[in-house]
């Protein structure tokens, strides 16, 4: 299969994506970040929230209202999802770059790793969950994982796992990629 259909589908796919969640989340997080910075409050937590919210918006962009109509198209659902992800992940990373530069936070807090880890985990769950609620379930993964990280107390495996998206984002992305490859025929 050639890449020509995907290249030609890029612009209409970009038009078909619902950008409101990503734009809304970006604007809100930027506002909160600016307020936090000017009032000299810690911005690391704001950036952590931003990574979960942006990841949620990125996974949510997989939702395709015309998925049923396109279900039997030669360009498979995985390729169409890959196109959507590419189109939405690039602006999300640009937004992240803006947030990181505005925050003046420590280099550890401004790494895009946690954003990518949460997004990858969400996409993997969306791919493995049955078609109808898949994207919804996948999009909730970043938020749920972030909430667990904030609420699970003490130490231990559960507590460690709740923080893996921050502490071991490369490993999370790698596992999610393996899950994606294994589920690509679904």
């Amino acid at each position: 299969m050639t890449v020509a259909p995907l290249r030609q589908a890029a612009l209409p796919t970009a038009r078909a994506i619902r950008w409101v969640p990503l734009v809304g989340v970006s604007a809100l997080v930027l506002l909160v970040l600016l307020v936090a910075r000017t009032s000299q409050r810690p911005v690391d937590l704001v950036l952590a929230v931003a990574s979960a919210a942006l990841a949620c918006a990125v996974v949510g962009a997989l939702h395709d209202p015309a998925a049923l109509l396109l279900a039997a198209a030669p360009v498979s659902v995985m390729r169409r999802r890959l196109l959507r992800l590419t189109l939405v992940l690039l602006p999300a990373l640009v937004v992240w770059g803006v947030l990181a530069s505005v925050s003046h936070a420590s280099p550890g807090a401004t790494s895009p790793g946690p954003l990518l880890a949460l997004a990858a985990a969400g996409v993997a769950v969306a791919v493995w969950t049955p078609a109808e609620p898949g994207v919804l379930v996948g999009a909730s993964v970043p938020v749920v994982w972030f909430a667990l990280d904030m609420t699970v107390p003490g130490s231990g495996l559960l507590s460690d796992a709740a923080g893996w998206w921050r502490t071991a984002p490369q490993a999370v992305v790698a596992v999610a990629l393996v899950a994606l490859l294994a589920g690509r025929r679904r």
Partner: protein, 288 residues
């Protein structure tokens, strides 16, 4: 049971096809050998029609059983791709992109059907839109269209590329009587070049259009033959009277004010000539 002879060789062959959802069997042991022409799939809600059509459209993989479409095995990715290049699929109640124009929507589907020459693609999109009677509204936004018009946009998308196998899940939904007749004309023309499999609740649609009819109930095919053959399954099981008859399995008042009864007729009554709907009632409700 009457089987219509293949006109263009076997296009769809299934053996022991099964599909379950959370333990509920949606399709059970379906055996089909379908050739060209228009094939109607009748059955009550929940009979398994949509599940079967989704499998025939390569959208859903069967749990067990053999399925061959256009001589290929859809389980193999390379062969599935070959099938999809020759297939048109209209799902039940498809959603579209409201912000696109009609032409943009169909053009987008054409791109995903690997039509990469923009000029040829635009010509094909225009052709299918004109064939479904939407040529004049091709620059209108999809969100401004009526339900019937949206259905026709989706149908146009399924017709792109002149598919050899067209799988349509309730294509007449939302269409007015005139549009239904236009649809019949369009589908019978399409069936001259290939195979059209459509599901419907409308027996008059089947009578007017289909050379072969399948009736599904509880995930199984209970009838496979001609519409004429389906009608004759109710031969001698239909009678009319001036009063309701509690012995009938089904009764309703006709436009003439008489009661039409379906079931085992009591002694001495004169059977009425059955319609396709009577035959369908017998098979789909298990009224035999």
């Amino acid at each position: 049971m009457t089987i219509v002879h293949d006109r263009a060789g076997t296009v769809i062959r299934t053996t022991g096809l099964r599909k379950s959802f959370r333990g509920v069997r949606a399709v059970r042991d379906v055996e089909l050998d379908l050739g060209g022409g228009v094939i109607g799939l009748l059955g009550p809600n929940g009979a398994g029609k949509t599940t079967l059509l989704r499998m025939l459209a390569t959208v859903l993989a069967p749990d067990t059983g053999e399925l061959r479409l256009l001589g290929r095995d859809p389980r193999r990715p390379a062969e599935r791709l070959e099938i999809r290049r020759r297939l048109g699929y209209l799902p039940q109640a498809p959603s579209l992109y409201g912000g696109f124009t009609v032409l943009e929507m169909v053009d987008y589907v054409a791109v995903l059907k690997e039509q990469t020459d923009p000029a040829a693609r635009r010509r094909d999109a225009t052709r299918v839109l004109e064939s479904v009677g939407l040529g004049d509204v091709r620059h209108r936004k999809v969100r401004t269209l009526s339900g019937g018009m949206r259905q026709r946009v989706a149908l146009a998308a399924a017709l792109l590329g002149t598919p050899e196998l067209l799988v349509l899940d309730e294509p007449a939904t939302g269409l007015d009587p005139e549009q239904r007749i236009e649809l019949r004309s369009l589908l019978s023309e399409t069936a001259r070049r290939g195979t059209v499999v459509l599901s419907t609740h409308n027996t008059s649609e089947v009578a007017a259009l289909c050379q072969r009819v399948l009736v599904m109930r509880d995930g199984q095919i209970h009838y496979d033959g001609t519409p004429q053959g389906l009608r004759t399954t109710a031969e001698g099981r239909v009678w009319e009277a001036d009063e309701p008859d509690p012995r009938a399995a089904r009764s309703w008042m006709t436009a003439e004010g008489r009661y039409r009864h379906v079931g085992v007729p009591p002694d001495g009554v004169e059977p009425a000539p059955p319609t396709l709907e009577d035959g369908y009632l017998f098979v789909s409700r298990g009224t035999r």
